[in-house]
Symmetry: C2
């Protein structure tokens, strides 16, 4: 009786879930599946096996709760990083406001290029020029002012392909892994080459990872007092931790002080983190997301003959090392039923 | 009937607790007192009021669980730091082994002095000489080797006054505050001028604070591989964070990324941490342990006319700032019923 009005409000998108509630849809996995966005296969089963092996009381490989640490790269592992890292878009978008406040920057070639709006020219900026942009947009302000700027940008900026906030572009299968590990007593950490202060502004709401569990590229701050005598921390152009490649295990030691039991990455920048993780004894889980799904997301990286990229390289070398060491490569195309939470298509990829 | 054998096994130390169970001991506080080692007074009541105010559902000052961060200095706040920081004793004790491994150090004046065993001469070492000792004993080895050295030392070294492991010399009233805050959803962090790697070896077993919640003076590490190709992290003589004075709020931002709601210290090195903590809005708790108990522990610091010290100075300036800002000074002598967990005397101090 009461079903009809409800059915009328149903969108096509909600239909499979609704049918599953009625018990008529066998394609929907059972409620007990902790990873419903994953297709059955080696990737999914290795995650489940690792969790059962390390958390089942009585297991010979039982890991005490306090030692359950899992680390996740962000860009390309938890959310989209192509064609350009979200944080770099933020920095470029901040240039007009920074130049308005500091007009002397207007004549610097790097800033002139960004202000011209010529995307091809922006893509050709040298590393030194990019660094100039990063220093001007990421340092010099108080930590509170920076957090407010980043939050305001995230609330309005849109990824051009999906026309959605960048924070919508997280991979639903990886969100499930985060939640599954936490439900089994793992502390989940983000270990990112991105700016620690930037990622911390949204990590809790987007990933359920609190700021104190975000390790990222980090600069010094300087404690001082403003004109009212209120204590402030000002972001300095001095790098403390370059949280990429060897910097990832170094950052893990600095900020966490324990070797992870599980680590997830997607590029050559994550190699040392996975090596460090798997060098510990007992079962260790090491996984790499391979971007091989040009339809639902992107396909890139020399591994498996895909086009090359500078944003999140997955080299043949890394691919070979993964095979040699038993690290699991996650194929976005084959292993993921859906990529985003807003993807309504639950079918396997083509 | 079954009481007699149990009574026979009771030690004198356990007697008050046992009598309290029988309901016959009015000197023992009720089971609901979260701070039984504290005398009634402004210090105790301000802790209880702060916790109730920030955690009672419906309180206008309610703080969501994820924002409940409390930071504690260690030396002189959580454990004894006189006459010499435990970590400095460790470094001096390590000198013979380091010199045996690197004989070229034997002729350096600083090492010759330490090897001579002349305590007065050791106390006169210059800062540059001390730094030479610290670099040689705290860097150059892998993080795993260092942790093993520190743990082995802690297991055997004894504080000369109490003839007990240093890790026994934690203040029971502060342990109660740690547990009380955690029981009310606060995440407790140690924020120490001591070495982060050193403190992390025992923070979990001694304070219930996991390594990832220890912020301390931290050096860089270098990722590499040993002769077997196993990944290693080697401790480098390069300072990343001097976690003292202004370095404390800077370290809190770097490692935690949230402003604490409560902060505890005992010296001028904690001033900026308390300023940063109390500059946030809503109720904030700032407390300073005053070492004014020469009988049960030590009495020092120019504040209140006590003898001066270089180890944990509590200056008149800090005392004045505390009064001006409403920070609570904890008198060890008057506010603490007992100082250590092994102290069986529950009477107020003389």
């Amino acid at each position: 009786m009461r079903l009809l009005p409800a059915l009328r409000r149903l969108t096509i998108a909600a239909l499979p879930a609704f049918l599953a509630l009625l018990g008529g849809c066998h394609a929907t996995p059972p409620a007990s599946d902790p990873l419903p966005s994953w297709n059955d296969g080696a990737a999914k089963s290795s995650i489940v096996a690792f969790v059962e092996q390390t958390t089942r009381v009585g297991s010979p490989d039982f890991v005490p709760p306090e030692e359950r640490v899992a680390t996740f790269d962000q860009d390309g592992t938890l959310w989209v990083s192509h064609p350009m890292y979200a944080q770099l878009v933020f920095c470029l978008d901040r240039v007009p406001a920074v130049v308005a406040a500091r007009p002397e920057l207007r004549e610097r070639p790097a800033f002139r290029t960004v202000l011209s709006g010529d995307r091809a020219a922006v893509a050709r900026l040298s590393m030194a020029e990019l660094e100039e942009i990063l220093v001007a947009t990421l340092t010099g302000m108080t930590t509170d002012a920076f957090a407010a700027e980043a939050s305001a940008w995230l609330a309005t900026a849109r990824d051009p392909r999906w026309n959605r906030p960048f924070t919508d572009l997280t991979y639903e299968p990886m969100q499930e892994v985060l939640r599954y590990l936490r439900a089994n007593g793992y502390k989940t950490f983000i270990v990112t080459g991105g700016g620690q202060d930037f990622v911390r502004t949204y990590s809790e709401s987007v990933y359920g990872v609190p700021p104190e569990q975000v390790v990222g590229t980090a600069g010094a701050t300087a404690f001082g007092y403003d004109a009212n005598g209120t204590p402030t921390l000002t972001k300095e152009p001095k790098l403390l931790l370059n949280d990429d490649k060897a910097g990832k295990p170094e950052g893990i030691h600095l900020m966490i002080g324990r070797r992870p039991r599980a680590a997830f990455g997607n590029s050559d920048g994550d190699r040392e983190m996975l090596e460090y993780t798997t060098a510990g004894d007992g079962p260790r889980l090491a996984m790499l997301v391979l971007h091989d799904d040009a339809i639902r997301e992107y396909a890139y990286g020399p591994a498996t003959g895909l086009p090359d990229t500078k944003v999140g390289t997955f080299s043949q070398n890394l691919y070979d090392e993964a095979a040699r060491r038993g690290w699991i490569v996650i194929s976005m195309r084959r292993d993921w039923k859906r990529v985003f939470s807003f993807t309504t298509d639950g079918s396997a990829a083509q």
